[in-house]
């Protein structure tokens, strides 16, 4: 069996899941949301973005909605994506895993501050 593409979850896929947590978005919307939530550090290119979307769709972590226009961006029809409950659960598990790392980092005095 080939290696599962989302195990471990790549950070691009995780960011996509996070970006869809509050609203359904199209590809460009996801890209902008990810850039915003990472402070501009992660700008997904089309190859990475759609590869990740493809993998997430295959595993049913997100679903594709009917194409529609985005009034802001003109009259082109766009594919929208929505987080599934499985995707939400996966994002939560990943967030917990990262939070666990942060706790360790804090106990080892590598990370200071008390939020997260």
């Amino acid at each position: 069996m080939p290696k599962r593409k989302l195990d471990p979850l790549p950070s691009a896929a995780f960011q996509i899941l996070l970006s869809l947590a509050e609203e359904d978005l199209h590809g460009y919307g996801i890209m902008r949301q990810v850039a915003e939530q990472t402070g501009g550090r992660m700008r997904l290119g089309p190859g990475t973005l759609y590869s990740s979307i493809q993998s997430l769709l295959e595993e049913n972590f997100i679903e594709e909605l009917e194409s529609r226009e985005d009034a802001e961006l003109g009259r082109e029809r766009r594919r929208y994506y929505r987080l599934t409950s499985a995707g939400r659960k996966l994002a939560r598990v990943e967030a917990d895993r990262l939070a666990g790392f942060l706790r360790v980092a804090r106990t080892r005095k590598i990370l200071r501050g008390d939020y997260v």
């Binding site: 069996m1 080939p2 593409k5 590809g27 460009y28 890209m31 700008r43 997904l44 290119g45 089309p46 190859g47 990475t48 973005l49 759609y50 590869s51 979307i53 493809q54 961006l73 082109e76 766009r78 594919r79």
Partner: protein, 489 residues
């Protein structure tokens, strides 16, 4: 513009990705391009895109196809079998390119295989080389044609002399003619002990001074001296036999067929000087003019077959115009017959000039007398020349010698011509000529030219024709061959 570039770059992705997300990717690009204007944002956009391509293109190719996953389950323990993974038929362009590449590969292989016969590895034919190095049965064969040797060598040394016929009469009025004619033939070939001694010493000195491999020269000298000490030469009062014995012994040691000692009953011309005097040149020009530079016949035969009879290869610097005019008048022939049956050789520069008309690209023309140089290549293509691809027949006889054999040998090796007639005379004369006295001289190779063909050159053996007929029948045979070839077209 930039969208076009990106759409081209998108073609790097595998087909299944492009089909599914190609349009989306372009849309994303358009959106970003619309919002990220100005130099810096645009630069950042392209950097993003390029790094994205570098990461995601390989990933896409390594993605496991869903079909493959399904198949891999079925494969365990089953007999080997093929599965067709593609979900669409290839583009017509790809099919065409594939067909073209297959044909090219096929053609290349078959060409290489058919060439294999001629281009054997050099080591493969050592036995053949040894055989040909064995001295011929009779001294005359060893010497080949003494006059043409002397003359042939002069070509290298002095660029002044031309091959002469067996009787010693000069065919064209070559500059050395006067001295040759003036010489008085001596009584049949006797050499006394004093002369033998003198010749032996001179031969040894020449070998040591001029032969390309000094160590081999030393060995040859030792062998000759040892033989002399044993009194082996005392019995050879006849010049021919003496020269033959010395040649044989030099070759036994060196295995070099180009090394020879030659006895001439007629007095040999004086050692040629490097430069021609103006008088010699003027005399030569005059002689060439009288005989049309040895271009005896230039005709168009039936079925538009061109016919050229060339009786020796004159100096290019004097006869280039004549040669050019002759070739121009044959330019529209559909096939060409070059008659070298009476051609005794001549200047390598004219051999190269004539050969230039026969190819559409420069070809290496092996010449046993010279190192590989710029002049070893034909000057093809000749502007305006139509003869490069035309069927070519070269007529040969046992009187075809030296430079004419060079012409035949190279055309045969390059598979450019069909040789019709008799085996040629076998006069390679690659040595530089050293005159010892009035009747004895020797050819010593001073250079090691590269013969690109595994088979030995024509020295002593001649060039075998492709179609063996009597010299007298060569022309009608070649005409028939040419006409039937043209009719088949």
């Amino acid at each position: 513009m930039s969208e076009k570039i990106y759409s081209l770059l998108l073609r790097l992705f595998p087909c299944h990705f492009r089909k599914e997300y190609g349009e989306e990717s372009l849309q994303l690009f358009r959106d970003r391009a619309r919002h990220e204007k100005g130099f810096a944002p645009r630069l950042r956009l392209w950097l993003d895109l390029l790094s994205d391509l570098a990461c995601s293109v390989p990933c896409q190719y390594f993605r496991a196809e869903p079909e493959l996953v399904a198949v891999s389950g079925e494969l365990s323990g089953a007999t080997p079998s093929f599965y067709f993974m593609g979900d669409e038929s290839p583009r017509p362009g790809a099919l065409l390119l594939g067909a073209l590449l297959s044909l090219t590969a096929l053609a290349t292989f078959s060409t290489l295989l058919s060439q294999g016969g001629v281009h054997k590895p050099r080591n493969a034919s050592v036995r053949q080389l040894r055989q040909s190095a064995a001295p011929p049965a009779h001294p005359r064969d060893v010497a080949g044609d003494k006059n043409s040797l002397a003359a042939g060598v002069n070509e290298t040394r002095a660029s002044s002399s031309f091959d002469q016929d067996d009787s010693g009469n000069s065919t064209p009025a070559a500059p050395n003619e006067v001295s040759t004619a003036a010489a008085v033939p001596i009584a049949h070939g006797n050499v006394d002990a004093a002369e033998r001694q003198r010749v032996l010493n001179a031969a040894i000195a020449n070998l040591k001074q001029h032969y390309i491999y000094p160590d081999v020269a030393q060995k040859m000298a030792e062998a000759l001296l040892a033989n002399e000490k044993r009194g082996e030469y005392d019995a050879f009062a006849d010049g021919d036999t003496f020269a033959y014995q010395l040649t044989k012994q030099m070759r036994d040691v060196s295995h070099d067929m180009h090394l020879e000692l030659v006895y001439s009953q007629d007095a040999l011309p004086p050692q040629p000087t490097k430069e021609q005097t103006p008088e010699e040149l003027a005399r030569y020009r005059e002689a060439m003019k009288r005989i049309n530079c040895a271009f005896e016949k230039v005709e168009i035969l039936g079925h538009n077959v061109g016919y050229l009879k060339l009786n020796f290869f004159p100096d290019r610097s004097v006869c280039e115009q004549t040669a050019t005019a002759a070739m121009a008048s044959l330019n529209h022939a559909d096939a060409l017959i070059v008659d070298l049956r009476d051609n005794r050789g001549g200047m390598p520069n004219m051999v190269a000039l004539m050969a230039s008309y026969l190819f559409d690209h420069p070809e290496y023309f092996y010449n046993p007398r010279e190192n590989t140089t710029q002049a070893s290549w034909t000057h093809s293509p000749v502007p305006g020349n139509n003869l490069a691809g035309k069927p070519l027949y070269v007529l040969t006889s046992s009187r075809t010698l030296s430079g004419a054999e060079q012409f035949c040998y190279n055309l045969k090796m390059l598979k450019r011509a069909t040789l019709v007639g008799e085996t040629t005379g076998g006069a390679a004369h690659s040595g530089v000529w050293y005159r010892i006295d009035d009747h004895l001289g020797m050819g010593i190779p001073e250079t090691k030219p590269i013969n690109p063909y595994a088979t030995p050159d024509w020295a002593g053996t001649g060039v075998e024709p492709d179609v063996k007929v009597k010299a007298a029948d060569a022309l009608p045979t070649a005409v028939k061959l040419a006409q039937s070839k043209l009719q088949k077209k």
